[in-house]
């Protein structure tokens, strides 16, 4: 039987409504977990409400602030790239709720394995934004100590970090700790063998890891249909662990579902796949041109579901925030943009001998030899003046 014939048979099956209804237990999850509609209305959810039941107005304002500041930081970075201060920038525009919701669900002792676009999660973990910019400016290839904020280096090779997260989670379980690990990846990465292997390993070892897939609909120019024939969250079923699709533009739902998944991990119930259904409103990176492959109408439709706007509507409607709050945040936002600008412009180029630094932890004879040759070569220009030498 070919794949096509299976697909063709589907409508006939669902036409027999009795069978479909019988398969779905009462109160089964809807396809998309949503707690806050695009219009900013709070909707009930029997399964996940409990995870945000005690959230205070102050915490709601906190989520809003996180999203606004992240977007401001991101916009500043894009500008800095246009001004030639950064070599490249991968914008998270549109994915703020997915990142802030999931990031704020983590506990201090949890460990995060990001891609290169998790600026919002980095913000939640307390990573200095300057660290993220150093990499995109080209002064280092990562640079921060992952153990300071339990936030691993950005990983550029697509999907590799899901295996690191799984191994780390295996170690957490061996240590008898109740921490959890969260691995970020995207719809494009879902096609990578490493992601499939991380599902296998985490399942058979029951590792405390949450796979947080931001399905932003586009892997550079390729739509999700080019990656999968089934909704991504359903992949988990084949590996023997639950998969959930959450509205990735709903910060409350992302917070609740991720908390649920992290707590499962802590209780020793193994991995979970969360598919945050969202949209990359900007280009893949500053080198990309989305007008070549997608229609403006699609973006406009998603802008109506903007993650920041809907929380603002909710905050205002429920009197959780007043004009003073929004004005103060606006000022804070501009101050952040200014600080980021100053930090990047003041960021010095690394010493040229940094090429050889940390190639090895225990040293290497060839590196020593080549460093000495490089030094001798550089020293041969000494008569041209000290100013040229660093």
């Amino acid at each position: 039987m070919t794949v096509e014939s299976t697909a063709a048979r589907k409508p006939r099956r669902s036409a027999g409504t009795k069978r479909t209804a019988a398969k779905k237990p009462p109160g089964a999850q809807p396809d998309l977990v949503q707690l806050l509609t695009p219009e900013g209305k709070r909707v009930k959810n029997g399964e996940y409400d409990a995870y945000v039941a005690d959230i205070t107005p102050e915490e709601l304002r906190g989520l809003y602030r996180d999203m606004v500041l992240t977007r401001r930081f991101d916009a500043e970075a894009t500008s800095l790239q246009r001004q030639g201060e950064l070599g490249l920038w991968a914008s998270l525009l549109g994915q703020e709720a997915a990142q802030i919701g999931s990031g704020r669900a983590t506990r201090e002792d949890d460990y995060v394995f990001p891609t290169y676009r998790e600026h919002g999660v980095a913000w939640c973990r307390g990573v200095d934004p300057a660290n993220l910019l150093g990499m995109f400016r080209g002064v280092n290839n990562g640079g921060w100590d992952p153990n300071t904020n339990n936030f691993h280096l950005y990983t550029i090779v697509i999907g590799s970090q899901t295996l690191h997260a799984t191994g780390y989670a295996m170690g957490v379980a061996k240590d008898g700790a109740d921490s959890a690990v969260i691995a970020y990846f995207g719809d494009g990465a879902s096609s990578q063998g490493d992601v499939a292997e991380s599902f296998t390993f985490s399942a058979v070892y029951n590792a405390p890891v949450v796979f947080f897939c931001q399905n932003n609909q586009w892997a550079i120019s390729e739509p999700t249909e080019r990656q999968t024939r089934v909704p991504l969250y359903q992949r988990a079923q084949g590996y023997g662990f639950p998969g959930v699709r959450v509205d990735g533009n709903d910060v409350l739902a992302c917070l609740a579902v991720t908390k649920w998944a992290l707590e499962r991990a802590r209780r020793g119930e193994g991995p979970t796949l969360v598919e945050a259904f969202t949209y990359r409103m900007g280009a893949h990176t500053t080198s990309d041109d989305p007008t070549k492959y997608r229609a403006d109408e699609e973006r406009e439709a998603w802008e109506a579901k903007d993650p920041i706007l809907r929380l603002r509507t909710y905050l205002e409607a429920s009197n959780h925030a007043d004009e003073g709050f929004f004005a103060e945040l606006e000022a804070e936002s501009e101050a952040l943009g200014k600080r980021v600008r100053e930090v990047v412009r003041a960021m010095p180029d690394p010493d040229r001998f940094a090429i050889f630094e940390n190639a090895y932890a225990d040293g290497h004879a060839l590196v020593d030899e080549e460093r000495a040759q490089f030094a001798a070569y550089q020293a041969s220009f000494a008569d041209e003046g000290e100013g040229k030498q660093r």
């Binding site: 280092n140 290839n141 990562g142 640079g143 921060w144 100590d145 992952p146 153990n147 691993h152 280096l153 990983t155 090779v157 590799s160 899901t162 295996l163 690191h164 997260a165 799984t166 191994g167 780390y168 989670a169 295996m170 170690g171 957490v172 061996k174 240590d175 063998g193 490493d194 292997e197 991380s198 296998t200 390993f201 058979v204 630094e357 940390n358 190639a359 090895y360 932890a361 225990d362 290497h364 004879a365 060839l366 590196v367």
Partner: protein, 326 residues
């Protein structure tokens, strides 16, 4: 208990046992390494004595093995992973090259990746395709990795100890056709540094440099040459990254001739790098160009032809004759 004669495979087994006993962070991972003790029985009995939490049978996925080992290392463990055969390492090559080799540098030295990857390598056992290859140059070419290969049981024991203690990732190539060769292991000896070459036979007319399975072939060639009145020095390089060029240079400055021998293809191989660097270092000492003996630029042949492909005593001596004829 001082020196004890044992097979090379047993020496690695004993070394892994010592490591598991002395450091609770050491883990063994791989396909069939647990209950079965590995297809070559190198990890025989370890799971029985140290449990499934420390000697871990993994799913059959090499990238997954190395990728999760990286994660475990980030958590503070020291994984020693087994790739079942040389030709099966390539699904993990991406994790090794793009992640394992570079992560320490990417973090500006703030994290360490003490992962050992054991790979039985080389031919001579009449195996099917992908079970007889020598891919060491593909790893030595990558900054951030260290690459070693013992030639005898004593080195196998100590080099494994040193590899596990190393804070850098080490690719540990095990000469599979020498697994059953016995030699002395002295657990109270002070071992040579991991990346230092060793003169295993002194000579005056020419230096043979080899590592892993070819050291024995070179020793036999030197013994045969002795009968013809030629005095060959044999150098066991032990490490392919870094390569101990100082020791090779010192030997060549005495003998003035160098032949490098390995099973791996000669083209762009370890021998090519040695030839280039020794030519730079010893240009005025050399009486002949550095010659190389190794595999051909063709896929590893079916087993019935491997004796034609692998460097043997006669091919080594042929190169010796060509060098001495200059």
């Amino acid at each position: 208990m001082t020196a004890e004669k044992m097979a090379l495979a047993k020496a690695i087994n004993e070394s892994l046992r010592t490591a598991l006993e002395s450091d609770p962070k050491v883990l063994i991972m791989g396909e069939d390494v647990g209950k079965l003790g590995g297809v070559f029985r190198v990890t025989d009995g370890l799971q029985k004595d140290f449990g499934e939490e420390r000697v871990i049978d993994t799913p059959l996925a090499e990238s997954g093995i190395v990728g999760t080992a990286i994660g475990l290392a980030l958590r503070g463990y020291r994984p020693v992973v087994e790739i079942q055969f040389d030709g099966f390492v390539f699904p993990a090559y991406d994790q090794i090259v793009t992640q394992l080799a570079k992560m320490h540098a990417r973090a500006l030295g703030k994290i360490k990746l003490p992962v050992v990857i054991r790979i039985p390598y080389g031919g001579g056992i009449g195996a099917v395709e992908h079970h007889s290859e020598s891919p060491e140059a593909l790893f030595a070419h990558v900054a951030g990795l260290k690459v070693v290969s013992p030639a005898n049981a004593g080195d196998a024991y100590w080099m494994m100890q040193q590899a596990i203690h190393s804070d850098d990732p080490v690719i540990f190539f095990e000469p599979k056709r020498r697994y059953w060769d016995k030699s002395e292991v002295n657990r109270e000896a002070i071992p040579s540094p991991l990346h230092k070459a060793r003169v295993v036979r002194e000579g005056t007319d020419l230096t043979l440099a080899a590592y892993g399975p070819m050291v024995k072939v070179c020793q036999e060639a030197a013994a045969a040459a002795q009968e013809e009145g030629k005095s060959l020095e044999v150098l066991d390089l032990r490490s392919m990254s870094p390569i101990d060029f100082d020791s090779i240079q010192a030997s060549v400055e005495r003998t003035r001739r160098l032949v490098v021998v390995h099973e791996a293809p000669v083209f762009l191989g370890t021998g090519a790098e040695i030839a280039a660097r020794i030519t730079e270092r010893c240009f005025y000492h050399l009486e002949a160009p550095v010659l190389r003996v190794g595999g051909y630029h063709a896929p590893y042949p079916p087993a019935r032809l491997e004796d034609e492909y692998l460097p043997g005593l006669d091919r080594v001596l042929d190169a010796v004759d060509r060098s001495l004829a200059y």
